[in-house]
Symmetry: C2
């Protein structure tokens, strides 16, 4: 096996030059569609957001000035059981199996796998990308903005473009803390990991700050989730049925 | 942009020759760790399952004889907020933000992105891979088998190896049905899509069968979910708090 070393070189890119060409966008969206799919149901949709007004709204939702553009191309990956609902609406059968935990996770897989496949293809082609999990800061507004119907959910954003920065890679957790052999990995001391993360943040070429892995986690414990605590209610409103008991 | 055409060539591979070498496994698990991560929390774990007895159990759960091996290497990607719980257990703060919808989806993102990044790197390196969403057929048994602690969940399997088959690509839904511009894609007639899927299944070199996209969806409506209807209950038992109302 000859591993393309770019597979190890992921960095989030937030500064871009210009926009993708239409053929480049088509190639990348084709990669998204070519991705593996749960039971081949293709339970996702993908929206390219070019309208400057919509990009400005998503930039505000995600607290990312760079998301407003105009450089870089913005995509939103959507869990989608709506299309299959339409196809099955005259089947005479209950559509409950398109609304339950299994169906929701199938859509989450399909949307997330497609997003990563597109990001990896972009990175291998010399482009850069940044995921925007922060679209979850306000799913209801995302739903309105993109006219998302029942049985869909805006899961993940991705911005892709020609990189105008070369950030350093963030150090990852020790391998043994994450990768297990035949069983869940044993808790391992993180050793100098906090110090290495602190050194990364202190010396990186853009926005040095005082931060360790532990301090990031601590901040998360007290973070204001804003609309993220509405995710369950919004999934229900969108027609998903995700009880916390066996049906 | 020069797109590596292998990015468009995904096929699920279920027949393999031999096993990965230890350096190959290390390279691929390093790719998984190098993947983008939600808020850099690295909320996933990855278990390489080599024990023949455990592979046999997972083969039974996933109804995939090829999963039993011995060829190909089996990995299970796990949503993991347990590690961060351990790191924060003496913080004196509530750990609710590591158990809610936001935390669960962060883990799902991290596990799924890592799995796809590993699969794509394997495919670009001449290896083949097949996702096993079917580990969800019996999450409770997966949890026991892999000794998964609280605040984890076995999300997705992936088998990777040197391909011993060259299956045809499955035709995808029409581009316009999946990809929207600034708004959710309009419902488009699927045209000859059912016929194309039917032709793929009728003529493929392994296991011809009579199947269209529509017939696959119809079968899903009446499928016996077995333990998949326990997913919500199992997530709750694992310590996740995923209400369907705003908290």
């Amino acid at each position: 096996m000859q591993l393309d070393q770019r597979a190890l070189a992921h960095r989030s890119i937030r500064k871009f030059t210009g926009n993708l060409t239409a053929p480049e966008r088509l190639a990348l969206t084709n990669v998204a569609q070519a991705t593996a799919s749960s039971r081949f149901g293709q339970q996702f949709s993908l929206i390219h957001v070019a309208d400057p007004a919509k990009r400005a709204v998503i930039a505000a939702i995600t607290h990312g000035d760079f998301v407003a553009g105009p450089s870089g191309d913005l995509f939103v990956f959507v869990v989608d059981q709506h299309r299959n609902h339409l196809l099955m609406q005259n089947s005479g059968q209950s559509l409950a199996n398109l609304e339950n935990w299994d169906a929701f996770l199938a859509g989450v897989f399909d949307a997330t796998l497609a997003a990563q496949n597109m990001a990896a293809a972009a990175e291998r082609s010399g482009l850069g990308a940044c995921f925007l999990g922060s679209v979850l800061n306000d799913p209801a507004q995302m739903i309105d903005l993109l006219n998302l119907p029942q049985h869909t959910f805006p899961l993940l954003g991705l911005i892709v473009g020609r990189p105008a920065e070369t950030p350093e890679a963030k150090p990852r957790l020790p391998h043994a803390a994450v990768v297990g052999e035949d069983t869940y990995p044993k808790a391992v001391p993180l050793g100098d990991y906090d110090a290495r993360v602190q050194s990364y943040y202190a010396t990186r070429s853009w926005g040095a700050r005082d931060e360790s892995f532990t301090s990031m986690l601590q901040a998360q414990l007290t973070a204001d989730l804003a609309h993220r605590n509405e995710i369950g209610a919004i999934l229900k409103r969108q027609g998903f049925n995700l009880p916390d008991w066996a049906e």
